[in-house]
Symmetry: C2
Subunit: 519 residues, 2 copies
């Protein structure tokens, strides 16, 4: 296997950089063998994982070591790709945008620095996983609830920075961030917001501080390395009430979304429900060949038969209410009456009360279960997530569903998708599930993704997140005003990171010297 | 009167710039006489208003005219101070940080570009006042509620950008901003978030977009001119229920704050209640000399007598609940039971139901009433607001109250203050009310402000906003890590505004060439 080197860095120069890294973190925490590097490859890559190969990994144990590593990187012009725990599945896992980037592996910065029961927040380092945080809260008899994505092995910090979501009223994790510590590419440590007051009393409590606030600019960003992050946690509610619904008809989508909108806007429904299509519901409990062995997408008749047999809906969702039991009961009545006009189907109701086992509550608990779905197609399951944002309106949901399904089927895939309802937006989350052992299918999956992104952008719908392989593809759809937003990103990038060492290419933001590499 | 010129710009050069401005906006919209300039002076200035005198004003009617004005400003190195409607009372009104700055008066950009009833947002230009927005919503029979500060003549955009607040669950206006259009100092127009997709469908609906998000960095900022701003509006609730309480004892403050905390964190109380002290309550309905004619601060015995006679509390607040009437009733019971342990005093309850006159609802309606309070001390009322942020805890409230009151009284002022409770923070809002016709008193007010800021910072409490005269004073308290946050602000400032023409000195952020001017 040929050695992977950073762009424009000779083998001897790179060796000198590695030696300097070893001097900082010790022999054991510089990973530079072929086997080491392989651990940073994306097992779900839509194509050859080697096209996003790391040159090495370096794992600091402290902020001071990060500063020292950045100094070396600046000296040798070695690019670094910070990962918190490297579990960004579906979006590249730990793999960098540019081959030859060195992984700055933050997994050893894994301290839970503060848990404030009274004021409801935690302060954590990037190496802390949701599993770790859960265990810590449980061990301390905490009354704070964690919000987490479906897979809980990932990083709390990394997830919030990438704008990941969970399933409680605190599920918009980015919106619950309060206060960051950031190491800038030049090595200076910044504390945002109230953290800039020495001995700050409200760093994790007041989001703004004095003057410009910076947290947003360091999310989905390559402007700095976030080393501490404050996150608000929800106090355990007295009860939750879950209303589950399987809508039997394809045409139920639009009316369901319109029924949901006033409930979201009026604050009746605070968590973000996700309306999953029939294939997503089937994939949770079965594999495709149990229903169909044909080549192209599953025909409607087959889908309908499978749907009825598996007792799932064409659209499936549940609405979970969190609060006082008597308030949940009142709000459940409002929800039922809103959907009475949509469908004769009744909600299935389950309740949880404080003291019952947490698993039924809606609180995040450690879980990897939903990964099963990638086996839908057989072989080594690959998945590519296309997830454009639209207004929270039935008409947009239907339009997006039709656009996407048509393309999925043209490319020979089952449309697998759903709509997560934010307060005012819908996130149309689809997955292209393919067999990674089938090269032609993998290529078709990539082609489909590209055409989906372009079609969506042409209709005014933008992606909110993507796989490292598609950063440029998606970034170029944000082209308003001569790509003015990207020019702003680049201006700030060049000012903060003149040597372009931090995560070149992330979200399509390339440093000046590498800008010609843009796909 | 001597002519006021921008720093380092000769009279003839400035005349050339003014001529160029006239060429852009027309003769009528360049304001350069002495009388013109006086209209931009701060009538509440804590000192000589002339120490923050504008050199002129220029009022564009469009984004294109702003671009052209910026080009002229860059050419002649003439600094510009953008104001939306110039009603930032207590914080400088329209006055610039640096004498000789030209006011970029945005009052003519006054279009309400969009009101979306279904999705609950508006898109407005900076010249739109809360009064204008209210009238527009009323005229169109809108079911959206505006949130506004006490004085409603100010700008909706300006208020949100300065992180002003209102009294409904949407009262944290900055948190309801979704999507901006910004003209950068170099003239490029940027649309943030989803606005960077051409024909964007979700610019005012999804806050993040793809990559770094920028809204926060353009608040309390001098990085650009915000020309369009999306703001979420609350759908009219079915009912509101108001619980008013006058706490009779000074010592009730701590327990009241502690009773409030779980109600705020648990989402029972969504708007931010404000616990006002006896002087604030008295000042709403009387002037000081009705109660006391002595020189120093009012003694406790006099305050207690006035309190009893005026039938106000030592601490006064109301909690307003918004939602379904039956839910409000349940939540009101929870509130009452939380405060039963604090005081035997009962809440006074009033209810509003959809269809009742709006004035009693808690919705923002046009009003200037609270300005009366500045007459407390007699003469031409001046006021200086000191408003540090602390944790939402009784112990912090009491500590802050004691610290501030002691200083107020040392400097001969009545402590006038209150505590506004956010979700996890308290904003201690005090006002130094003085007689502007009394030079010695005005000087004492300034001295008091400075010592309050320093004492607070030493205890870990930071100001969230201040008068133009004190930008540097406050900014320097945010000094953690070698003033790392200010260095970040300056790095970005220099990158975006190399000529330093936009609002030099705002929030203590000076461009490179003027950095030595920092107080």
């Amino acid at each position: 296997m040929q050695r992977v080197l950073p762009h424009g860095v000779s083998a001897s120069r790179f060796d000198a950089a590695l030696a300097a890294f070893r001097g900082i973190v010790g022999e054991a925490y510089v990973f530079a063998t072929d086997e080491d590097r392989d651990t940073y490859l994306d097992p779900y890559a839509p194509g050859r994982p080697e096209s996003h190969a790391a040159a090495a990994g370096v794992a600091p144990a402290s902020v001071e070591e990060i500063q020292a590593i950045l100094a070396v990187a600046n000296r040798y012009k070695v690019p670094l790709w910070p990962v918190s725990r490297g579990k960004n599945l579906g979006y590249g896992t730990a793999a960098p945008a540019m081959t030859g980037t060195v992984i700055l592996d933050l997994v050893r910065l894994n301290r839970i620095l503060e848990v404030d029961e009274e004021l409801g927040f935690v302060l954590v380092e990037p190496g802390v996983g949701f599993n770790d945080l859960f265990a810590h809260l449980q061990a301390h008899g905490s009354h704070l609830w964690m919000s987490a994505p479906a897979q809980t092995w990932g990083s709390v910090v990394g997830n919030a920075l990438e704008r990941g979501v969970g399933y409680t009223p605190y599920g918009d994790h980015a919106s619950k961030v309060c206060g960051m510590e950031i190491v800038l590419p030049g090595g200076r440590i910044v504390r945002t917001g109230m953290g800039a007051i020495s001995g700050a009393s409200a760093w994790q409590l007041f989001k703004y501080g004095f003057g410009p606030s910076w947290e947003g600019a360091f999310m989905q960003s390559n402007f700095g390395v976030v080393t501490k992050l404050g996150l608000w946690m929800m106090p355990e509610p007295e009860a939750t009430l879950t209303l589950a619904m399987n809508l039997p008809r394809e045409s139920d989508l639009g009316p369901a979304v319109d029924a949901l909108r006033p409930l979201k806007l009026g604050g009746i429904v605070q968590a973000n429900p996700s309306i999953a299509n029939v294939v997503r519901a089937l994939a949770m409990k079965s594999s495709r060949d149990q229903w169909y062995r044909g080549e192209g997408p599953m025909p409607d008749a087959v889908l309908e038969e499978a749907r009825a047999k598996a007792d799932v809906g064409w659209w499936n969702f549940s609405i979970r209410l969190f609060g006082l039991p008597e308030v949940n009961t009142i709000h459940a009545k409002v929800v039922r009456s809103a959907f009475a006009a949509v469908t004769p189907t009744e909600f299935k109701t389950t309740e949880w009360h404080r003291g019952d086992p947490l698993e039924k509550s809606g609180a995040a608990v450690p879980s990897l279960a939903p990964l099963n779905v990638v086996n839908w197609r057989g072989g080594r399951g690959g998945h590519l997530t296309f997830s454009p944002v639209s207004p929270l309106r039935g008409v947009d949901a239907v339009k997006q569903y039709r656009m996407a399904r048509k393309r999925f089927e043209e490319y020979g895939f089952d449309y697998y998708g759903g709509f997560t309802a934010g307060e005012r937006y819908l996130n149309h989350i689809t997955m292209i599930i393919y067999d990674r052992d089938d090269e032609a299918m993998t290529r078709r999956a990539r082609d489909l993704y590209t055409v989906l992104v372009r079609n969506a952008a042409a209709a005014g719908y933008g992606e909110y997140r993507t796989h490292v392989a598609f950063y440029d593809e998606v970034a170029t759809t944000y082209a308003w005003g001569g790509s003015a937003l990207m020019r702003l990103n680049e201006t700030v990038k060049d000012a903060l990171d003149p040597n372009g060492i931090l995560a070149p290419g992330k979200m399509g933001i390339w440093p000046a010297a590498l800008r010609s590499r843009r796909a």
